[in-house]
Amino acid sequence: MLAIAEYVVRGALSGAIYALLAVPMSLMFVTVRTIDFAVGAYALIAAAVCWSVGGALGLAAGLGAAMACAAFMAIIFLALKRLGCEDHIIYALASFGLATALASLVLWWWGTQAFVRDAFSDPWSVGGIRLAPQGVINFALILLLVGALHLLIQHTSLGRMMRAAAANQTGAALASIPVQGIQVGTYLAGGLLGGLAGLLVLYSAGLDFTAPLGLTLSGFGAAIIFGIGSPLRGFFGGLAMGIAQALAAGYASAMVAGMVPFLFVLLVLTTSRFGEEALAGGRP
């Protein structure tokens, strides 16, 4: 029984990172009706810059670099709009292109090395389970952040404006809502959250230039599993994916453990009402 509990706890701690990556995707879908596939690349850039600079300044520099990349994506988004592009798939593909370019930039500048930092040397023992302090801190931080964002979107005027901008851009603009400003702000928030995820991974397991695609797909899986329209659902989606991965690693044969979490996502999407809503792009 303790063994199962240990896998569940470990899965929840690792799933929190997926949850943090899912949040900017949900936000983007709520406001712009597209997906920013460069979120994983923002995480990589933040980790690489923080690793190079080091210390508290490194954390700030990492987040700044990630936001600068997100600002560049926002400029691409605005340029495409200026050119008359209203197809949200094109915005998503543009972000995918930016992610590839950022991964290549990291490969060119930093090479193939892994970016890893340690903040704590000794694990904590909680109920007989040895846990990395960084994992526990990650979980608490992400829980607070997701809760705050949920309140922001559901219970503040800014959140109402964001949702209105997504539901009906023309109507929102006529109601004096700065639609474009909200959209650009959402891209920047994506950079901030993606960058934060990168810093947490840097101090947890570490990452290298190959990480962006995997991080993005994990975040996307977490975002859609219980419905993409809510960061809170994204949080629980991340936890569910992390726990499914940990249980699969612990109890399934190594031959099939890798596919179990994705089968789990497929199962939820095809059998639950959340799945229908996610596929339809429904919002809460």
Partner: protein, 384 residues
């Protein structure tokens, strides 16, 4: 005056007559084009970039000319660590650039994808990969693929034999989810019991896993006495070592050659101290013989030796150079290169060990190219 002009014309004609054979020989001995299809981006760039750097450094040192005076033109293409791209690139350098041999592709899956094309267009591949299947005699394209590194089976046998020297009996394996990882775990399960090692559990992860504590927990719960890592992604290796420390998996850990990289050694924390890693030579930290020479060439180009990528890349180049010079005075084609490669033995290369190819032996390098190293103070030290 006329007499003087006549004498000059006669002299010029005589000089031209003497020069003519030389000019004709020069025309025959035009540059030989070699292709290099390497992984310069994507996950396998860890090895592809050092392969490229070393090939370029050696060519520069040789003034792009073989010892016998034959000029070499290198055509370099990135296969993006993608087998489809590798096959396309091999086709491109043969059809468009008329190369007579190809260094690469960098990965085993790339070589397997490009093998049928090499066979159809009759140009040999010099593959710097350990993947067993690339030189399987059952392949229809077997005559056209030559391996310039020890095979995965040789690697695994050497590292497991080192593990068996201790009193370890119960081994756990962590491997990455790809052909490299799967081949390693399969061979370890076959070879381990023959030397008293019982593989009691195996765990795996994709390249991009961000947390490996569940995998480390499973091996800890299985009561393993040692762990064997079959991974080539340094982030995955360092992540597993951190996870092992976090969950209390305090047993000796051994790693295959995938982790014998400067970036891995220098960027892992204290949890990696004492890790035993197999390597093809040890050019970054303990170079000997030809490795010292190659390290100097790289440093002259402002490059820092990264691992064994440099050695296997230059193994391929030096095999091609030896094959070109062995065909002195003959027309060089893909077929003549293939035929000559099968006769090469003990030619100059920078890696350790004696390299030999034959008609029924397309694996050029063996156990004598390998060393066991131990990670100490962020350096891989060669063990005696």
């Amino acid at each position: 005056m006329i007499k003087s002009i006549t004498r000059r014309v006669v002299l010029a004609a005589a000089v031209a007559g003497l020069a003519a054979p030389a000019l004709a020989q020069g025309a025959d001995r035009g540059p030989v084009k070699l292709g290099a299809v390497l992984s310069l981006s994507g996950p396998a760039a860890v090895f592809g970039i050092p392969e490229r750097d070393a090939i370029q450094a050696v060519l520069k040192q040789m003034h792009s000319t073989t010892p016998d005076g034959r000029r070499i033109d290198l055509v370099l293409v990135d296969d993006k660590s993608n087998p489809t791209e590798a096959a396309r690139a091999v086709s491109q350098v043969i059809n468009n650039d008329q190369v007579v041999a190809i260094i690469g592709p960098s990965t085993g899956s790339g070589i397997l994808a490009a093998g049928p094309i090499a066979q159809r267009l009759k140009v040999p591949l010099l593959g710097p990969a350990g993947t067993l299947a690339i030189t399987d005699p059952k392949n229809e394209f077997y005559p056209w693929v030559f391996r310039v590194a020890p095979s995965d089976i040789v690697d695994i046998r050497v590292i497991l034999r080192d593990m068996a020297k201790s009193k370890t009996k119960k081994v756990g394996i962590f491997y990455q989810e790809d052909a490299y990882g799967k081949t390693g775990v399969d061979e370890a399960k076959i070879f381990g019991p023959t030397i008293g090692l019982n593989v009691v559990d195996t765990v795996s992860a994709p390249y991009t896993a961000t947390d490996l504590t569940a995998q480390a927990t499973k091996l800890r719960n299985a009561g393993v006495e040692a762990v064997f890592l079959q991974v080539s992604i340094s982030a995955l290796g360092s992540s597993f070592l951190k996870a092992a420390r976090q969950v209390g998996l305090d047993v000796p850990i051994y790693a295959n050659a995938g982790l014998a990289q400067r970036s891995f050694a220098e960027n892992t924390g204290p949890e990696a101290e004492g890790l035993r890693v197999l390597s093809i030579g040890n050019i970054p930290f303990d170079p000997v013989g030809g490795e010292v020479e190659l390290a100097k060439m790289l440093q002259a180009e402002g490059k820092v030796p990264q691992g064994w990528g440099e050695l296997v890349g230059t193994n391929a180049l030096m095999a091609a150079v030896a094959a070109i010079d062995a065909q002195k005075g003959k027309e060089i084609t893909g077929e003549s290169m293939r035929d000559t490669l099968e006769t090469l033995c003990n030619f100059k290369a920078y890696a350790r060990g004696k390299a030999c190819f034959a008609k029924d032996k397309h694996d050029g390098w063996g156990e004598d190219a390998l060393v066991i190293t131990e990670l100490r103070n962020k350096q891989l030290k060669t063990l005696d």
